[in-house]
């Protein structure tokens, strides 16, 4: 083991945008990157006048792992486990957004059963994501009971999704042109049970929090952002909707099966922390409503398209006939043949617009993969929601923005 270098020999990885001299001698504090109250590795340099935050400089990138560079060295199929690790609270939506973007590039139309199953699982994933976000934000404000209620329901969901996909958190369940496997027996029955339990526990959380004086004092009129500011800063998803603007890709430019579903887009009144909490709570109810509709609509049929460019042949055929063996080999070694071109396709992820910009040069490996991740864009705008409020308000505001490090830093 080599000796540790002297502290002043180490380069400072960040250069703050301002020092005490730039902010009239206000105190400059560094919050994070590893702080117990910020769920996510992020650093904020704040200039404080007493308890008041005057100016904030947000530094992300502590979880940067070269996702986009790594994607250029793997086949299109190999990226599915990587995109799972962007927003690890709702990996299924990442999978489906990525797979559908590749399918658009290939001109592949998914089968009806896959279309409805992906919609159902997207909404189920949104439930998990919102539960995580609300549970963590409430716990940071000292509300331990709602945290346990919500995380317990979320854990039922994780176990239930694990029964389908084989993994609790990073599922790798999407496939280009379909899904990894069909529903196991009894899966939908258990889904109904979980949704009933969800309703019971979310009802308790509503009862504990909605009119709770302490909660309202911390959340109402804190972290306010206007619709015009939110649009200027590229903010999408629940934060934009909390300002009163009903913008939701599921309604505006429907994809998957959303055009056939009946659902509302809940909006807030003034874009503060309380509205963001409530919009997420209401969106979960809408998701449950959609899942119940989809359980009725789910058609029978194959889940993978019959297209040899992307779908793996049946294992029995691989072992018995040469064409399928070669097909399997080529798909593994060369990757799916994606025609040259470029595509940008976005899904409404729990945090906002999750877009994939893919460029193909015609080979089995992407030429470029770029993720338009909502968390990163929101981090560009979060300073607007923090400045002018108190130091302690950073915690609920940051919690209600729901920054996910994996997706923000890529």
């Amino acid at each position: 083991m080599t000796a540790r270098p002297a502290l002043d020999a180490l380069a400072n990885p960040i250069l703050p945008a301002f020092g005490p001299a730039d902010v009239d001698g206000n105190v400059v504090v560094s919050i994070g990157p590893s702080h117990p109250a910020t769920h996510g590795t992020i650093q904020m340099i704040a200039a404080l006048d007493g308890e008041r935050v005057k100016r904030v400089d947000v530094h992300c990138g502590y979880l940067h792992r070269g996702f986009e560079k790594e994607c250029e060295a793997h086949t299109w199929h190999n990226l599915i486990p990587f995109v799972d690790r962007l927003n690890y609270c709702s990996p299924l939506i990442n999978d489906f957004a990525y797979c559908e973007a590749v399918e658009k590039l290939m001109g592949v139309e998914m089968t009806p059963r896959t279309k409805y199953l992906r919609t159902l699982l997207s909404e189920y994933s949104r439930l998990c994501d919102h539960l995580t976000c609300i549970a963590a934000s409430l716990m940071e404000l000292g509300a331990m009971t709602p945290f346990l209620y919500l995380v317990m329901v979320r854990d039922y969901m994780y176990e239930h999704i694990a029964a389908l996909t084989g993994a609790r958190v990073t599922h790798s369940y999407g496939r280009i042109g379909g899904l990894a496997r069909d529903l196991p027996a009894g899966w939908l029955t258990r889904l109904s049970e979980i949704l009933t339990q969800y309703e019971e526990f979310v009802g308790r959380v509503h009862g504990l929090m909605d009119r709770n004086r302490i909660f309202i004092d911390r959340m109402r009129d804190v972290g306010v952002i206007s619709t015009a500011d939110a649009i200027d800063l590229g903010i999408t998803g629940p934060i934009l909707r909390s300002t009163g603007s009903p913008r939701d890709l599921r309604k505006d430019t429907p994809y998957l099966a959303y055009a056939e579903l009946d659902f509302d887009v809940p909006v807030g009144i003034k874009g503060d922390n309380y509205d963001r909490y409530y919009v997420r709570m209401r969106e979960m109810d809408e998701s449950v409503y959609m899942i119940r509709q989809l359980m009725e609509m789910l058609p029978e049929g194959p889940i993978n398209v019959d297209d040899r460019r992307c779908t793996f042949p049946e294992k029995t055929l691989v072992y018995t006939e040469i064409e399928s063996l070669i097909n399997h080999f080529k798909l593994v070694m060369d990757g799916p043949a994606v025609p040259a071109g470029e595509v940008y396709f976005a899904h409404e992820a729990p945090n906002g617009e999750l877009g994939f910009y893919l460029v193909s040069d015609g080979s089995g490996t992407p030429y470029k993969v770029h993720v338009r991740s909502p968390s990163f864009v929101h981090m560009g705008g979060v300073a607007r929601m923090l400045e002018g409020y108190q130091l302690a308000d950073i915690i609920p505001t940051f919690g209600s923005v729901n920054m996910i490090g994996g997706e923000c830093d890529r």
Binding site: E68, D232, Y357
Partner: protein
């Protein structure tokens, strides 16, 4: 592309423009096309091409739900385009990312510090000539 949608297409049409016309185009898109949201800024590296980089912007309209992609080509010797920060606040972070990953200079951007990388990082990692295995640890690895 053979995909048609009934609503405004979720797949954006592409507008290829010379770099000098960027600000005028963006202004027109914002004023006349009502493209009020800048969704994304990135670049694509084509080594060997005389104008090596494509810089790519995606715009969205929260009024008409239309999308558009704007592309321009810049040379490696002078990879500069105008910053869209005067028109769209979201350009602040996205242009910083594009700057560090591809070395594109956004003229007029006040703050092009590294954002996902760190101070002192050498090179632009998403360029095709940056080796994928090259490591630049801030703290020496333990032996």
């Amino acid at each position: 592309m053979t995909h048609e949608a009934t609503l405004p297409t979720p797949l954006p049409p592409t507008l290829e423009i010379p770099a000098a016309e960027l600000l005028a185009t963006a202004r027109a898109l914002k004023a006349q096309g009502r493209f009020d949201m800048l969704l994304d800024v990135t670049a694509v590296d084509w080594p060997g091409r005389s104008l090596r980089f494509d810089v790519v912007w995606h715009f969205y309209s929260t009024v008409t739900f239309a999308r558009v992609r704007v592309k321009t080509r810049v040379a490696e010797s002078d990879p500069a385009v105008d910053s869209l920060l005067p028109l769209y606040g979201s350009a602040l972070f996205m242009e910083r990312e594009c700057h560090e990953m591809y070395g594109i200079d956004f003229r007029g951007h006040p703050d092009l510090r590294p954002i996902l990388l760190y101070e002192g990082f050498v090179g632009h990692p998403l360029r095709k000539d940056y080796p994928i295995r090259l490591e630049q640890p801030l703290v020496p690895y333990r032996k």
